[in-house]
Symmetry: C2
Subunit: 352 residues, 2 copies
């Protein structure tokens, strides 16, 4: 299990509808009015999408508050990630983190250097200083998946300076950006550097609840944008995803409500989960929670939840996490309550 969200593999294991806590999608669903917008765009399906995605890039530039010439787009964040990795000499990844960082590096025959997070899942900048060489590309999840932590502003600036001086490249994977309460926006933070030696990736996937539409985007220097063009496949964003990207970012009310909703449920779920014995609940700034199982292994807990209609994310496939870690999404209140009750059952059963 390298990725969450693979419900089809388990649909025969449970009679009834499965609740997916394995992929971290905004429980409010996509912005209102999107379906109508897509219906209006059906007639565009029998032409190619704009090969330069001009309107889409303008819409994203406006949303990110950066110049449209700094915008890159792709078939989900993972395609943009793949293209950036293509431009690096060695790929440096912190562990544990999203498995595709390393998988895409391997697919492209790149040397991978793993650096472990500290025990509290923060970054040891001195290791970066030692390791980074000219041409290296360091990928940091911000917030990181599955650990749920965002890089502190001064640490990020420190890391950036180390990398810039050594002529490396810093790639921030911010696919979960909007979920986080934050005192800084990386796209603002590096604007006056013209994104020299830094790229930032985001996506419609998680926050706009559109994993099916495949729309990732990001921000980089014009030089990097041109370099990426040589690698990018043509037309990788489908016409309806193109239309969606010209619509969803305008809904400021939806964005505000989603952030507030997740913040409330995060507090609730953290508080309730921390009451349950036998598990260690890590702090999180985002819409998923990493949990260490003290008394069980992931396989047992996975089946326990599956038998009760819930899919959780086993974490053994993350480098440096053993088979006693799981990750759960933060969902709507009723689902979150179900999750908590099953955790309580898990603990109750142990006692007998």
């Amino acid at each position: 299990m390298l990725h969450g969200g693979d419900l089809l593999s388990y649909e025969d294991s449970y009679k009834g509808e499965l609740i997916d806590f394995s992929s971290n999608i905004n429980p409010l669903g996509p912005p209102k009015g999107l379906y109508e917008k897509l219906i209006e765009s059906f007639h565009t399906l029998n032409s190619y999408p704009d090969i330069q995605y001009r309107k889409l890039k303008a819409s994203i530039g406006k949303y990110l508050n950066c110049n449209k010439d700094n915008v890159v787009v792709g078939n989900g964040a993972v395609e943009i990630l793949n293209n950036f990795i293509f431009t690096g000499k060695r790929i440096l990844v912190f562990t544990p983190s999203f498995s595709e960082y390393e998988l895409r590096a391997i697919a492209h025959g790149k040397e991978v250097k793993r650096i472990p997070y500290k025990e509290d899942f923060t970054i040891d900048t001195s290791i970066i200083k030692e390791e980074i060489k000219k041409g290296d590309l360091l990928i940091l999840g911000n917030p990181n998946n599955p650990t749920g932590l965002r890089i502190e502003k001064d640490v990020l600036l420190q890391v950036y300076e180390i990398i810039r001086k050594k002529e490396g490249y810093l790639l921030l994977d911010e696919a979960f950006y909007e979920f986080c309460p934050s005192d800084y926006d990386s796209i603002e933070l590096f604007k006056d550097k013209d994104y020299e030696n830094i790229g930032i990736i985001r996506a419609a996937t998680k926050f706009f609840a559109l994993p099916g539409i495949r729309l990732g985007y990001g921000c980089a220097s014009r030089k990097k944008v041109e370099e990426l063009k040589k690698i990018e496949l043509p037309w990788t964003i489908n016409s309806l995803a193109d239309s969606a990207g010209q619509f969803i970012f305008k809904d400021k009310e939806y964005i505000k409500n989603s952030r507030a909703y997740i913040e409330r449920e995060r507090k609730y779920l953290l508080k309730e989960l921390k009451k349950i014995p036998g598990i260690k609940v890590y702090d999180t700034q985002v819409n998923y929670i990493l949990i260490k199982l003290i008394d069980w292994d992931e396989e047992y807990v996975f089946k326990f939840f599956l038998n009760r209609g819930i899919i959780i994310r086993k974490c053994k496939s993350f480098i440096d996490l053993s088979d006693n870690h799981i990750r759960v999404a933060i969902k709507d209140r009723s689902s979150n309550e179900k999750l908590i009750n099953i955790f309580k059952n898990l603990f109750e059963r142990r006692k007998r």
Copy 2:
């Protein structure tokens, strides 16, 4: 201009709606009922598509009449092409042909060997015999773009045997397959070889009039399918494209009508174009026509047509075609008549 279909670049040049003769899309539009199917699938947008595309591959396997385990899928034919190219040592391309063969090879740092078609755009098998080495991947458009010719069955079998013996790989790009009147189906032809050393790519793009949906597919040995999995990005086909691929191939009536329609219009357009002096019209088996301009260059003719509301495909960007070639799609009767009339005007103007 590397690709057709880029209308947005020219929309300011003409007052009124442009007719696109530069991309070769079925003029009948997508199969009936597709939009309703897409609307039914909107609720799938807030989950990830099936990472294994099980239902989609079953649907394609049924349509192609091959085992679903031999099916590969991708974000348009070009992504599949890209992944196949990734597995080749050297890339051999015939010229002129689709520019992405060479572009994707270059993006992956592969050595490219160009082999020119004979003057009548058929294949000289003796050159393949001389050139092909172990691990090489030879790409053949079948029918080829922009020349419009399909490989004859006995020539194809001959080429395949040469390549198989030398342990090379033959990749057939059959993105236009359904448009061609044909005495063979490559997927049937190589079934008893278990697709050893051969891959066949097709797409919903052209024949099903869905360039916007981004759905390519193909057929290869199970061994090659596994090899490609190591390179493939996850979830590159969006949920709505996934749904479309479970719907469109069932419409046998649409397929029959489209083939008959194109055959009729091909005959009409060829007959009428051949009457016009000052151009050489090449024979074609597909839904586009390559034309050699005797008295003008492509730029002049492109502007002449643009000023009259029609976008044609300049062909200088195809290796081994000079700036006196253009390509036009075969469209609906009324558009085709407009095209012919503008050609007549072009000739009339020259006379003055």
